[in-house]
C-alpha cells in the first residue's frame, strides 16, 4: 500500500473534550463502513480545527470561519464523497455565524460537528458566543445554536451531545453521518466539549444537561413544539441534549443536481465532450 501521511497524535491538552469528539467521528465512520479515502474531513481553525490530522481520511484545514461554504462546495462538486465539517464554537458561531445560518437553510448533504467549549481555546481562552457570562458584556445570553437551527425551516437534523456521554454521542454521530450519506441533507451536531485549560465546565455541564432522548414526551419531529420545550428547559438553566430535531426537506443536492451530469471525474473534462452545447452558446452571439 502506498504510504501516506502519518496520522498525527492529537495535540490537545490532557482531558480536553475534543478527544471524545474525534473518537465519535472515528466510530461513526467505521460503524457506517465508510472508507477513509472517500471521506474528506474539513476543519476550521482552533484547537478543534486539528481533528482532521488525526483520523486518516483526506483532510482540509479551512480558513477561520469558512469551513461550511467550503464543505458545501465539496459536497456539490463531488457528491460521492463523505463530507464531514468540524470546528469550534468560535469558528462556527462567531466568525462563521452567517455561513452557519445559510448552510442550515441550504441543507446540503454533509455532517457538521461543532465542538462547543464556550471559549476560544487556541487563542488562549477568550469568550466565545456560547460563553456563559461573557467578560465584555456579562448580561449577554449565550447563543443556543440548536434554537437557531430550529428557527430555520429547512433544517433536517439537529442534535446536541456531551463528550461525557460517549454512547449517546457516538450514536448521534452515526445517525448524523447516515443522514447526510443518505442524501437527506445536513446533519448538525453540537458537542459540549469542555476546555480544561481555559474554562473547565465539565461538572457544571454534567449537572445541567437534560437528555431529550430519554424524555418520552419530547417530540423531535415537531419544530414548533421542540422550540417551545427547549425554551422552557433553557429558562430553567438546563442544557437540552439528544436528537433535538429530525425532519425532512429537499437537500441542496436534490434541488441543484437532480438533472445534471456528474462532472467530478477527470475523464469527463476533455474538450469535445460538450462541444455542441458550446457551439450553440456561441452562436447566440454571432453577427
Amino acid at each position: 500500500m502506498t504510504k501516506t501521511y502519518e496520522i498525527r497524535k492529537p495535540i490537545w491538552c490532557a482531558g480536553c473534550g475534543h478527544f471524545g469528539v474525534q473518537g465519535a467521528i472515528q466510530y461513526a465512520l467505521q460503524a457506517a463502513g465508510i472508507e477513509l479515502h472517500e471521506t474528506l474531513v474539513l476543519a476550521g481553525i482552533g484547537c478543534s480545527g486539528t481533528v482532521q490530522n488525526n483520523i486518516g481520511a483526506y483532510g482540509y484545514h479551512a480558513m477561520h470561519g469558512r469551513v461550511l461554504p467550503t464543505a458545501i462546495g465539496v459536497s456539490l462538486a463531488n457528491p460521492d464523497l463523505t463530507v464531514i465539517a468540524a470546528g469550534g464554537d468560535g469558528d462556527g458561531y462567531a466568525i462563521g455565524g452567517g455561513h452557519l445560518m445559510h448552510a442550515l437553510k441550504r441543507n446540503a448533504n454533509l455532517l457538521y460537528v461543532v465542538m462547543n467549549n464556550g471559549v476560544y481555546g487556541l487563542t488562549k481562552g477568550q469568550d466565545s458566543p456560547t460563553a456563559k457570562t461573557p467578560l465584555a458584556a456579562p448580561e449577554e445570553d449565550p447563543l443556543d445554536a440548536m434554537m437557531l437551527g430550529l428557527s430555520i425551516r429547512s433544517t433536517t437534523f439537529l442534535a446536541r451531545a456531551i463528550t461525557t456521554r460517549s454512547d449517546q454521542l457516538n450514536e448521534l454521530m452515526l445517525m448524523g453521518l447516515q443522514h447526510s450519506r443518505e442524501g437527506k441533507g445536513m446533519a448538525f451536531i453540537e458537542v459540549l466539549s469542555p476546555c480544561v485549560t481555559y474554562d473547565d465546565t465539565y461538572s457544571q455541564w454534567m449537572n445541567k444537561v437534560y437528555d431529550l432522548d430519554a424524555d418520552p414526551d419530547y417530540r423531535n419531529d415537531d419544530r414548533g413544539k421542540a422550540f417551545f420545550d427547549l425554551n422552557r428547559l433553557i429558562e430553567q438553566s438546563l442544557i437540552p441534549i439528544g436528537l433535538i430535531y429530525h425532519g425532512e426537506h429537499a437537500s441542496l443536492q436534490s434541488a441543484m443536481l437532480s438533472d445534471v451530469t456528474p462532472f467530478h471525474s477527470l475523464e469527463d473534462q476533455h474538450a469535445g465532450h460538450f462541444n455542441q452545447h458550446m457551439e450553440e452558446v456561441l452562436s447566440a452571439y454571432a453577427v
Binding site: Y58, G73, N78, L266, D268, H277, L282, Y285
Partner: protein, 602 residues
C-alpha cells in the same frame, strides 16, 4: 392613427439629404432609465453589424435602480476600434440632461434628435452647425402603454432613415430583436417603427434621400458581438470550468447570469452565495475535489476575498477569480470604469503568495485568456485572477471564437492507478518545477492534508525553518515554471521610436488610434500593452527601460500600473504617467492632446 401627429416635424433642408458616406460613426442615445436608450443602441448595433461594420458598444448609467440617467453609445467603423469616436455624430436625447451630457462631444455637423415635448433647449448646448430634429417622443408615447418600447421603435425607425438603412432591413432587425414577444406584443412596436418612418417621410428623409449612408462592407471571417464578461465566462466553460459561485455586484453579475443560463446544461453548478466570503470558499471546496471552479466580483467583493486568495496561493488550490474593476475606492462609482485594483490583485493579501494575474484587452482575449487562466490554475495549482476593466461590460465585434483551440490540460493530476505505482504519496512533495503531483479526495491510498498553515510534504503543520524555506521556494518555483506560458505583451507602432506608450486592457484601442493620429502629426510611438500583470514579464520592463520616454496611460489616480512596473525594475525616470479617474473612458482626442502637450514640454 391620426395623421395630425406628423405635422410636428419640419422638413429637413434638402441640401443635407446627400446620403454622405461614412466609414466611422458614433451614436449616443440617452434619457431616463425607462426611456429605452439601450434598446435603440442595441437595435442600431445589430443593423450595422449586418452591414459588416465593426461595432463597439458601451453605456454610461447611474448606479441606482431603474430610472436614473442612462446613456447608450455605439461606434460603427470599418476598422476594429475598441473605443468611441471623439465626437458624437448622432444624438437621440430623451431629456435635457442627455443633451447636457453630450454637449461638449457633439460633432459640428452632428444630428441631434431631441424630445421636443419636454423642456425647451437652452442656447449654446448644441453646435450651431448641427442639424436639430425635434420629435415629440413623450407626447407621442402617452398613446402607448409600453412607453419605452414605443420610443425605442419610433426612434429606431427614424434613425434608420437618417443613416440610409432600408425599411425592410430595419423591420427585420426589430422583429429579430423582439422575437420573444408575442405577435400581440410585437404589433405596437411595428406600428411605432412605421410612425418613426412616417415621421421621416414628413421631414423628407426617405430611403434614397438619407442624410448619411453606411454602405455594406465585405466580411471575410465569421464574427461575433460580445462583452468581455460573457467571453470570459464562455472561456471558463470551454476550458472545462464546471463550478461557479458568486454574489451579485456591478459590473460582475453578468458573469454569474451567463453561467446560470449555460453551465447547468453541461453538468455544471452555479450558486449564488450569501456573500463573497462564501462565494470564494464554495469555489475552494469545489476546487479541492479537482473540479475547475471560478468566482467573479468587483473591487469591494474582491477585497473581501483576499485572505482566501492568499490561502489558495499557500495551500496550492487552483481557482480562477474575475475582478471586474470599477471606480473605487470603497463603493466608489459602481457603474464607472477604472483600472485601480491593480495593486490589490497583484499584491493585496497578507504574506507572500504565488498567483497569476492576466489582463485581457478585448473580448477575444477575455475568452482565450480565461481558457488559459483555467488551465494554468490547474497547472500551477494556484489562484489565477483575470483583471478586467470596462472591457467587462462593453461589447465588441471580434472574430468568432475557435472552440477547437480550447484545450483542457489536466496538469499534474495523479489517478488511483498512478498512486498504486508509488511507494509513497505526498501532496506537497518538493519538486524541481515547484508543482506537486495531485491526487484528489476519493483517490484510494492517497490520503493527504491540505492546509493554509505552513506544512511539510504530507500537509502536516510545521514551523521547522528548513521545511518552511523549502515550501516557500517550491511555491515560487512553480510560477517560474509556468512563466513561459503567460501571455506576452502586444506591441505595435514604430519599433524604432525612442518614445513609447504603454497601457493595459481596454486602453489598447485608444492607444492605437492615438498613435495613428500622433504619427500623422509626425510624432511616432512604439506601443506596448502587457497582458500579464503578475508576475510582471521581462518584455515589459525591457520595453520601458529601452525607450527614452514611455507614457504609461492608466485609469487610476495612484498610477498603480506605473508603480507596479517600477517595483519590478522599470526605471522611474523613463516613465511619464497619464492618469484618468473621472469615471469616464479615455478619448483619443484627449490622449493625443495630453501627449502632444507633454512632448512639447519634454
Amino acid at each position: 392613427m391620426k395623421p395630425a401627429i406628423y405635422d410636428i416635424s419640419a422638413a429637413v433642408d434638402k441640401d443635407l439629404l446627400r446620403a454622405e458616406v461614412r466609414d466611422d460613426l458614433t451614436v449616443m442615445v440617452a434619457g431616463q432609465g425607462g426611456d429605452g436608450s439601450l434598446t435603440i443602441i442595441a437595435l442600431l448595433s445589430k443593423a450595422l453589424l449586418h452591414r459588416g461594420y465593426h461595432i463597439y458598444r458601451t453605456s454610461d448609467i447611474a448606479s441606482r435602480i431603474k430610472g436614473g440617467h442612462a446613456a447608450a453609445l455605439m461606434r460603427a467603423s470599418t476598422k476594429p476600434r475598441g473605443n468611441l469616436g471623439d465626437q458624437i455624430d448622432i444624438l437621440i436625447a430623451f431629456d435635457l440632461e442627455a443633451v447636457q451630457k453630450a454637449s461638449n462631444r457633439l460633432a459640428p455637423n452632428s444630428i441631434v434628435i431631441f424630445d421636443s415635448s419636454r423642456e425647451a433647449m437652452p442656447p449654446d448646448l448644441v453646435p450651431e452647425t448641427a442639424l436639430m430634429i425635434p420629435v415629440p417622443f413623450s407626447r407621442l408615447s402617452v398613446r402607448d402603454l409600453r412607453r419605452d418600447l414605443f420610443k425605442n421603435s419610433l426612434g429606431f425607425g427614424l434613425l434608420g432613415r437618417i443613416i440610409g438603412l432600408a425599411d425592410k432591413e430595419v423591420e427585420s432587425c426589430l422583429r429579430k430583436h423582439f422575437k420573444k414577444l408575442s405577435s400581440a406584443q410585437l404589433e405596437p412596436n411595428i406600428k411605432a417603427l412605421r410612425e418613426g418612418q412616417a415621421f421621416a417621410d414628413k421631414a423628407g428623409i426617405s430611403g434614397r434621400n438619407s442624410i448619411l449612408t453606411l454602405p455594406a462592407q465585405a466580411v471575410e471571417n465569421e464574427r461575433i458581438f460580445i462583452s468581455g464578461n460573457h467571453a470570459a465566462a464562455m472561456g471558463f466553460m470551454a476550458a472545462g470550468g464546471r463550478f461557479f459561485a458568486g454574489y451579485p455586484i456591478t459590473p460582475a453579475t453578468d458573469v454569474m447570469n451567463f453561467l446560470e443560463r449555460n453551465l447547468p446544461a453541461v453538468g455544471g453548478v452555479v450558486m449564488q452565495a450569501e456573500d463573497e466570503l462564501a462565494s470564494i470558499n464554495l469555489v475552494i471546496g469545489a476546487a479541492l475535489t479537482g473540479v475547475r471552479a471560478m468566482t467573479a466580483s468587483s473591487g469591494p467583493g474582491i477585497a473581501l476575498m483576499l485572505e482566501s486568495i492568499g490561502h489558495c496561493g499557500s495551500a496550492e488550490i487552483p481557482i480562477v477569480i474575475i475582478d471586474c474593476q470599477r471606480a473605487g475606492p470603497s463603493t466608489g462609482m459602481p457603474t464607472k470604469p477604472e483600472q485601480s485594483d491593480i495593486n490589490m490583485v497583484t499584491r493585496g493579501g497578507n504574506g507572500d503568495y504565488p498567483h497569476i494575474v492576466l489582463t485581457p484587452g478585448d473580448p477575444e482575449e477575455c475568452f482565450y485568456g480565461s481558457i488559459l487562466a483555467t488551465n494554468i490554475a490547474q497547472r500551477a495549482q494556484c489562484p489565477v485572477i483575470l483583471a478586467l476593466d470596462a472591457v467587462c461590460h462593453d461589447n465588441f465585434t471580434v472574430p468568432r471564437f475557435d472552440l477547437e483551440r480550447a484545450r483542457i490540460y489536466p496538469g499534474k493530476r495523479v489517478t488511483e492507478s498512478d498512486v498504486a505505482q508509488m511507494e509513497e504519496y505526498r501532496r506537497y512533495a518538493i519538486t524541481e518545477d515547484g508543482i506537486s503531483p495531485w491526487a484528489v479526495p476519493g483517490t484510494r491510498d492517497a490520503m493527504n492534508l491540505v492546509t493554509g498553515n505552513e506544512r511539510n510534504e504530507w500537509g502536516l503543520v510545521t514551523t521547522e525553518p528548513d521545511m518552511r524555506v523549502a515550501m516557500v521556494d517550491k511555491r515560487s518555483r512553480k510560477i517560474e515554471t509556468v512563466r513561459p506560458l503567460l501571455p506576452k505583451a502586444v506591441e505595435w507602432g514604430d519599433v524604432n521610436s525612442p518614445l513609447g506608450i504603454l497601457g493595459v486592457g481596454i486602453l489598447g484601442g485608444v492607444m492605437t488610434e492615438a498613435a495613428e493620429r500622433l504619427a500623422e502629426q509626425g510624432l511616432h510611438f512604439h506601443c506596448h500593452r502587457p497582458r500579464t500583470l503578475w508576475p510582471v514579464l521581462e518584455d515589459t520592463i525591457d520595453f520601458v527601460n529601452s525607450h527614452e520616454r514611455v507614457y504609461v496611460v492608466e485609469q487610476s489616480e495612484g498610477a498603480q500600473l506605473a508603480g507596479l512596473l517600477k517595483s519590478e525594475g522599470a526605471r522611474a525616470d523613463k516613465i511619464v504617467s497619464i492618469l484618468k479617474y473621472d469615471g469616464l473612458q479615455f478619448s483619443t482626442a484627449e490622449l493625443v492632446a495630453t501627449i502632444v502637450e507633454k512632448e512639447r514640454l519634454a
